[in-house]
């Protein structure tokens, strides 16, 4: 791939983001068009901003990679990411806006009138934000590594520095415009190359992707295995090896490997003949791919459970993402918030038609990516593989730009939310300007963990954040909005037990502490049990503490559910309590 194009594209995206962010407001107006200036952001602009912030590296790169490796079962990811907004639309959007809350912690305080629950909610906001930032930075590292060969931490550092700089300097002044621009950039960056790729595929005789049998290589392919892996073969395979296989050292020697599992050391180069089936990676304890195996394997009977886990996490987790919740504040009222969500459904749905296409094309043209563990790069290498030449380079650079837009937009939205909550609720607040100090902290923690942590498929890593969000904030929001008997102790217990157990399970799985078999499956996909656990705890503890129902519950619920024009103004005395 031509580095110059790619670097130019990434630089252009970074510069455009910084410039629109810094200059968006310089468009000054005079009194004659005052009305335009004082009009709130319309549902369409706001929806594009929400979508732009939401479509992260997981959507842009991760889904195609998962489809490539594991087949169409992975299409539940885009379905879940989209359907989460349906749940949000039906149950949460308008009441959340009417509550007047800016962050999820604000909502907890507005509904439950308890500073303790607010503080607890803040901790979860920070936790989910960090979990979600981690794959963004890792994805950036991967992208830059493929584009320029830089070490994998450089991309993450670049995104972290750009985001920290712009957010801390107050550069994201017109964040709505920036994020809306990023949405359209990402959509175009994925759509235009897709046209070329599909046309090339059609001209190639439209070969079908086969997901039921091992993928076969179309031409002579050389693969460098970066990390040590175990490969499974169903039939003998003859290939040229430079490096170590099954503890035997080879120097460019043709080797025939028998059926069974083979141990390939990191750094080994495998040259596969055309028509050879791609060996499959096998899970084992130390293999970073291993933990996502329950859904991936699919053949060991846990697939149904894992799919339900994924569906629950994504359907119910979207409402608890810190950077999504704050965007609803921009809507002028509850009805506009609902309309915005509807448009978001359309925009996000349209976007998610594309990653599947890339995944299927990748299965045909770049199946060896499954071997190297960098399947997330499928989207980036396809233009070079299918179209080739200068056009391929250009399209690849375009995709790289889009991918960086994805990292930047999601990371900056998350950083702003996390830094805001850190400055307001977690750090001791003595000075006013704490926000700027909180910003580096917000990005430094996931950056450090990202360097130390194992490579996990980006879409799966994002799934973890969804699982925690679905087990903590979904019960809080749904019960807070629709159940008048929720009490602060109940909410706190539910957050701790539901969200806390999901968080613990997810961390333990990522650290490789979970035992194999069913316990592993249960811990890797916690949403199936942790979401009901969160709901149940909240309901039971609330019922056990009926005397702690906040005194203002009736007034708060009336405000959440009545359209703004019918809400009686709060009496002056109440307002100040």
């Amino acid at each position: 791939m031509n580095q110059t194009y790619a670097v130019a594209a990434v630089t252009a995206v970074v510069l455009a983001t910084v410039l629109i962010g810094a200059l968006g407001l310089r468009v000054s107006r005079t009194t004659s068009d005052f009305y335009v200036a004082s009009r709130t952001a319309g549902p369409r602009l706001n929806a594009a901003a929400i979508s732009g912030e939401y479509l992260s590296a997981a959507s842009f790169l991760g889904i195609a990679g998962l489809v490539l490796v594991q087949g169409p079962a992975m299409l539940w990811y885009p379905v879940g990411y989209t359907a989460g907004y349906l749940v949000l639309l039906v149950l949460v959007a308008a009441p959340l806006r009417r509550s007047g809350a800016y962050t999820l912690s604000d909502f907890a305080e507005a509904r439950l009138e308890s500073p303790q629950v607010r503080r607890l909610a803040s901790l979860f906001v920070v936790g989910i934000g960090w979990l979600y930032l981690l794959p963004q930075l890792q994805g950036a590292g991967l992208t830059l590594e493929i584009l320029t060969g830089a070490p994998d931490w450089v991309g993450g550092l670049l995104v972290a520095v750009v985001v920290t700089g712009t957010v801390a300097a107050g550069g994201m002044r017109s964040i709505t415009f920036v994020q809306a621009f990023q949405y359209w950039l990402k959509l175009t960056a994925l759509l235009v190359p897709a046209f070329f790729l599909v046309a090339a595929w059609h001209g190639d005789g439209a070969p079908r992707a086969r997901f039921d049998a091992p993928a076969t290589l179309r031409e002579h392919t050389v693969v460098r295995v970066a990390d040590t892996v175990r490969l499974g073969l169903d039939a003998p395979l003859t290939l040229t090896v430079t490096g170590t296989v099954d503890s035997v050292r080879y120097e460019e020697r043709p080797v025939t490997l028998g059926p069974g599992t083979h141990h390939v050391s990191g750094g080994t180069v495998l040259a596969l003949p055309p028509g050879a089936p791609v060996p499959e990676r096998r899970a084992d304890g130390s293999d970073p791919l291993g933990w996502s195996q329950p859904l991936a394997g699919g053949r060991d009977g846990h697939q149904l459970y894992a799919t339900y886990g994924l569906i629950l996490a994504t359907f119910l987790g979207t409402m608890g993402l810190p950077h999504v919740a704050v965007r609803f504040y921009t809507s002028p009222n509850g009805r506009a918030a609902r309309r915005t969500t509807l448009v978001v459904l359309g925009l996000v749905g349209a976007f998610y038609l594309l990653p599947g296409v890339y995944g299927a094309l990748g299965r045909i043209y770049a199946p060896e990516l499954a071997l190297t563990g960098s399947a997330d790069a499928a989207v980036l290498v396809l233009p070079d593989r299918i179209v080739g030449g200068a056009l391929g380079d250009l399209l690849g650079a375009f995709l790289a730009g889009g991918a960086f837009a994805a990292f930047l937009s999601t990371a900056s939205g998350l950083t702003m939310s996390v830094a805001g909550v850190l400055a307001q609720d977690v750090l001791p607040s003595r000075a006013v300007r704490h926000f700027r100090l909180a910003t580096p902290l917000a990005t430094a923690v996931p950056l450090a963990v990202g360097v130390a942590a194992s490579k996990v498929p980006v879409a799966d890593a994002v799934g973890l954040a969804f699982a925690v969000s679905a087990s903590s904030f979904c019960p809080l929001l749904v019960l807070g909005i629709w159940w008048r008997r929720l009490t602060p102790p109940g909410a706190a217990a539910g957050l701790l037990l539901g969200g806390g157990s999901a968080l613990a399970a997810v961390m333990a799985t990522r650290a490789g502490l979970a035992p194999g078999g069913w316990p592993h499956t249960l811990m890797a996909w916690p949403a199936v049990w942790s979401v009901p656990l969160g709901f149940l705890t909240m309901v039971l503890v609330s019922l056990a503490t009926p005397r702690s129902v906040p005194p203002g519950t009736a007034a708060t619920l009336a405000r959440l559910h009545l359209p703004e024009e019918f809400t009686a103004p709060v009496p002056a005395q109440e307002a100040r309590r």
């Binding site: 009194t31 009305y35 604000d106 017109s174 709505t176 809507s331």
Partner: protein, 403 residues
């Protein structure tokens, strides 16, 4: 392997955070700890215990004498008195009962309390209970008084007639009365603050009304269309400004009122007044005290046009700053001596051009806290820049819809 590194890093981070929090708490509370070490003599400890029990009953009583506060206060009060049962009434009914015998003594309470409620004096009388196993033979009734006379009664039950019980009940009732008086004081102070806020609500200066009408009148013959538009603006602006409902409005509505104000001011000053706006759409839904920006704009226009020769440029900007919205109003007019401005903000120059500023400043501090006052940058001949910060969310701050 790398999984373990991750786990180690994560747990190290968590431990560090927890350690920081605990350390902060410890250093903050060290003062309390030192006091606990010397426990004092038995008499002192008894005093401490009594004071502590009394302090438990005080907070509910400070909210006045109602069913809920009486229920919360009656248990610590009974342990303070050490009686079998204790009952609190208001002028007509039993509010709370602590201890046994509630079922069959409940009816007799109003009879016992009637005399005390009328005379305002303590009394002691047998309960005349028919149940021989019942411990509640005698009742001491003491009045609870407020500023406006007797509010209710405290009825303490004991097994026999006892001067100690009478004394104790009377003293406790007196202590409760003090708390109730303080509650009334609190209430009247709140009422006063509210009245003050109502008075502080920016008022449209009569001059502005005269000047606007005069400016409109000057267009009636030359440009009737414009005069009509201006009159409609005037009607909208006054309707918005004179509304009585709600203390808070959305920034978008406030800006619309400012637009109308500027249209009217523009009619008077023509080309000499130039206004530039930089508004981030994210902050338009922010709730803020009603009509707290208009005085700032009025002030800027006034300052800008004091120098009759040249025109004036006013820049109004609202931008997003994390969990806050920052609004600045800037003019390039004559400015102000910082010393004089400081005096105005302290309220030492009750008349003069800065009255709007000090009014807004005071309201912002009352609503959002001392950290949220106006920040004013100015100098003689250097223009003036006023910055106000509004938190996007604050409990109890909800905008009322525009009328």
């Amino acid at each position: 392997m790398s999984g373990i590194v991750l786990a180690a890093a994560a747990s190290a981070g968590a431990v560090l955070l927890a350690a920081g929090v605990v350390l902060g708490r410890l250093t903050a509370r060290r003062g309390d700890r030192a006091a606990d070490l010397d426990l004092g003599t038995p008499v002192e400890r008894a005093t401490f215990h009594t004071l502590h029990t009394a302090s438990l009953a005080a907070p509910p009583l400070r909210a006045g004498l109602t069913g809920e506060t009486a229920r919360k206060a009656v248990r610590p009060l009974r342990s303070l008195l050490g009686t079998e049962a204790l009952c609190l009434t208001d002028g007509s009914a039993v509010l709370a009962w602590d201890g046994p015998g509630a079922a069959h003594h409940h009816a007799g309470v109003s009879e016992l309390a009637a005399a005390t409620l009328e005379t305002g004096r303590s009394s002691s009388a047998p309960t005349g209970c028919a149940d021989p196993g019942c411990e509640l033979r005698w009742a001491v009734t003491a009045p609870l008084t407020g500023e406006e006379g007797v509010l209710g009664a405290l009825v303490a039950y004991g097994p026999r007639e006892s001067a100690v019980l009478v004394r104790a009940a009377t003293e406790v009732a007196r202590w409760v009365s003090v708390q109730l008086e303080l509650a009334e004081l609190d209430r009247s102070r709140t009422r006063m603050v509210e009245a003050e806020i109502r008075a502080l609500r920016a008022q449209i200066s009569p001059h502005f009304i005269f000047n606007s009408l005069a400016a409109i009148a000057s267009f009636v013959r030359t440009d009737p269309e414009r005069a009509r538009d201006l009159l409609l603006e005037f009607a909208d602006f006054t309707r918005y400004s004179f509304r009585r409902q709600g203390e808070f409005a959305q920034l978008a509505d406030e800006l619309r009122a400012i637009e109308q104000y500027l249209a009217l001011a523009g009619a008077r000053f023509g080309d000499r007044l130039k206004v530039t706006l930089q508004i981030a759409p994210e902050v338009l839904p922010v709730a803020l005290p009603f009509l707290c920006l208009q005085p700032l704009v009025e002030n800027a226009v006034k300052h800008g046009l004091q120098d009759r020769e040249r025109g004036c440029r006013v820049v109004i900007a609202a931008r997003d700053a994390g969990a806050e919205a920052v609004v600045t109003v800037e003019d390039d007019g004559v400015g102000m001596d910082p010393e004089r401005l400081r005096a105005v903000l302290r309220g030492e120059h009750p008349s003069g051009s800065g009255i709007g500023l000090s009014n807004v400043d005071e309201r912002l501090r009352q609503v959002y806290g001392a950290g949220y006052g106006l920040v004013i940058e100015t100098g003689v001949g250097a223009g003036m820049k006023v910055t106000a910060r509004f938190p996007k969310y604050r409990p109890g701050v909800h905008p009322s819809p525009p009328l």
